[in-house]
């Protein structure tokens, strides 16, 4: 991995042949929009690229004598996606783990292989942000992605590849500046949840606290659909004599998500569904994959129509757990 400074001029030069293949997250655009050409495609988060709200998994058709099935095609032109650290983390630490683990999800894999990530440091955490609580941070980086800190006249870059060849050695001074900046941004952020949290949370599955925690949630899908990590999906068959298997977003907030054909529903009310959402992110997923399925971007908090705040649910459970441990 190398580090360096890329001047504005060289940055634009590097972007020149990538204009039609650039994606930028909505939140990164708000902060760094001026660093990207007008052609850049603004998306809510990486899910829109890797797990579109609707996609064909395979096609089928009546071939006159019998049914045939065939695979759909996935566009694999190389793309660049620039986002905040939390949004990149949602891909690398959550959706990659689900869709690239055996059995590999072919569509996801093909899109992912052609997607290069650029992480733009987060210099103004918002009041709804809580990345540090869930193991991330405003300067979170990953070896497979470019890490960028846009400054007044240049961009500090870490990583590998073509862009680094445009960079100049910044020296000790720049190193110091970046470190100071990071310290400044990170100061006062909450410390990570205790390591025992995911295991202990599960012990509180039956806790009556869930009634109160879940009460005002309306069970709409705003949080899950806008979440960069929520990946749960539905599969359906579309079309009669010719059609396809459709994958579309689904939400654990919806009663139909778990409704059996017999009308039995293992998660019949809002309470079970809210608990599932919290447990999946903070207990089940971490127990299986080693990290929370939440990156603390706070979009769910910001967009919730009734101000249901996952941070409060977590806080209340942490308090409970710590009271019992004491």
């Amino acid at each position: 991995m190398s580090k360096g400074l890329v001047t504005k001029e060289k940055w634009w030069k590097w972007l020149e042949d990538k204009k039609d293949r650039l994606f930028l997250s909505e939140r990164a655009q708000k902060r760094y929009g001026s660093w990207f050409p007008p052609e850049v495609k603004v998306v809510k988060n990486g899910k829109e690229i890797l797990l579109p709200s609707g996609e064909e998994m395979y096609r089928y058709f009546w071939a006159g004598e019998e049914w045939k099935v065939e695979e759909g095609e996935v566009n694999t032109a190389p793309l660049f996606f620039f986002s905040l650290p939390c949004e990149a983390r949602a891909i690398i630490e959550i959706t990659d783990k689900v869709f690239l683990h055996e059995p590999i999800d072919k569509n996801y894999r093909q899109r992912r292989k052609s997607l290069s990530l650029g992480i733009l440091a987060c210099l103004q955490p918002e009041p709804t942000c809580f990345c540090s609580l869930v193991g991330g941070g405003p300067f979170w980086k990953n070896e497979e992605a470019l890490f960028l800190v846009p400054r007044k006249e240049d961009i500090y870059v870490e990583g590998e590849g073509e862009l680094l060849s445009y960079s100049e050695e910044g020296g000790e001074k720049v190193k110091q500046e970046i470190q100071t900046l990071q310290k400044e941004v990170e100061s006062g952020l909450p410390s990570p949840l205790p390591s025992y949290f995911s295991q202990e949370l599960y012990q509180h599955f039956e806790d009556e606290e869930w009634d109160d925690i879940s009460w005002h949630c309306m069970n709409c899908g705003a949080c899950t659909f806008l979440c960069p990590t929520c990946y749960c999906f539905d599969l359906s068959i579309e079309g009669r004599l010719k059609g396809f298997q459709l994958r579309s977003w689904d939400s654990c907030m919806f009663p139909k998500f778990t409704l059996h054909a017999s009308f039995h529903n293992p998660r019949p009310t809002g309470k079970e569904r809210v608990r599932q959402r919290v447990m999946h992110k903070f207990s089940y997923f971490p127990e299986r994959e080693g990290n929370f399925a939440c990156v603390g971007c706070g979009v769910c908090v910001e967009k919730c129509p009734v101000n249901w705040d996952i941070r409060e649910a977590i806080e209340r459970m942490v308090e409970k757990i710590d009271r019992l441990r004491a």
């Binding site: 019998e66 099935v69 990946y231 999906f233 778990t258 207990s283």
Partner: protein, 280 residues
């Protein structure tokens, strides 16, 4: 990119197999016998996603035994859109299957034990896969005694009657069939499965493993009865139904606590199940 990297199979793509035969089991249950395919090799207790072109896809447990090579069977009750479409099909038509999915029955754990099968209604379907596996000439020696208790709501609701007759004639197993309510022509036993289990199945629990499947309420009372009979939770094995879409542990809906029924299930030993939240 190397050649091997390119060759990732699309796990959602079904293989199309022709229906060889359709057996009408009851007024709303049919068994579909498909011409098997060597690509599709499975274990007793596993399930598959069955695709009806133009209609839909749904998960069903495999009811045939892998020892019965060249066939693949599903017994399906008419309930919703997909099952209704299935019931309208004729032999010769093709349907899709993908899988097999799930863990299947713990064959190693069951080996050399006495096996008590307790089935209710269409719940016999997944058990039948294991029963025929155990009864097959290749495997019979690996297991000890076999006891099958099977019940249904009424004589009309008994499935696999044609096979129950064959089992009846075998000397290497005990078969008890019961119905909740008889009718004029019913000469057999009348009584709920858990009750018949307690009253008529006299076994020394210590040497047995029990395998239970049926409607949720029947499973609940059967497990209670088995525990009363001295079975330990680890000697009780059951297979669960959940809404499953992908079968791959990805779509996110079929979990009970941290376990995905499509991955770590659908077969659970009761000592695991009793510690899980009751969200099934």
């Amino acid at each position: 990119m190397t050649a091997s990297e390119l060759e990732v199979n699309n796990p959602y793509l079904p293989i199309l197999l022709p229906i060889a035969e359709i057996i009408e089991e009851t007024r709303d249950i049919k068994t579909f016998r498909l011409q098997g395919d060597s690509i599709f090799s499975y274990l007793p207790g596993q399930f598959a996603e069955v695709f009806v072109p133009g209609k839909g896809e749904a998960p069903f447990s495999i009811t045939s035994s892998p020892t019965n090579e060249g066939i693949l069977e599903f017994s399906i009750k008419k309930m919703g859109v997909v099952t209704t479409a299935l019931h309208r099909l004729n032999p010769g038509e093709k349907i899709g299957v993908r899988g097999p999915y799930g863990n299947g029955f713990p064959l190693d754990k069951l080996k050399s034990h006495n096996l008590l099968f307790v089935g209710g209604g269409i719940g016999l379907a997944p058990l039948r896969s294991l029963i025929n596996y155990v009864l097959s000439p290749q495997k019979r020696e690996e297991f000890a005694e076999v006891f099958i208790l099977y019940g249904a709501r009424s004589p009309q609701d008994l499935v696999f009657k044609w096979e129950l007759e064959k089992w009846e004639q075998r000397e290497d197993l005990h078969l008890l069939v019961t119905v909740d309510r008889g009718d004029n022509s019913w000469q057999g036993r009348v009584g709920l499965v858990p009750q018949v289990l307690k009253e008529e199945v006299k076994v020394e629990a210590g040497e047995w493993q029990s395998i239970v499947c049926g409607p949720p309420i029947m499973i609940k009372f059967t497990i209670k009865a088995l525990l009363e009979m001295g079975f330990s939770p680890s000697q009780i094995i059951t297979t669960l139904e959940m809404k499953m879409k992908c079968g791959l542990g990805k779509c996110g809906r079929c979990n009970i606590g941290p376990f995905y029924v499509c991955q770590e299930g659908p077969v659970f030993s009761y000592d695991v199940l009793e510690k899980l939240p009751e969200e099934y």
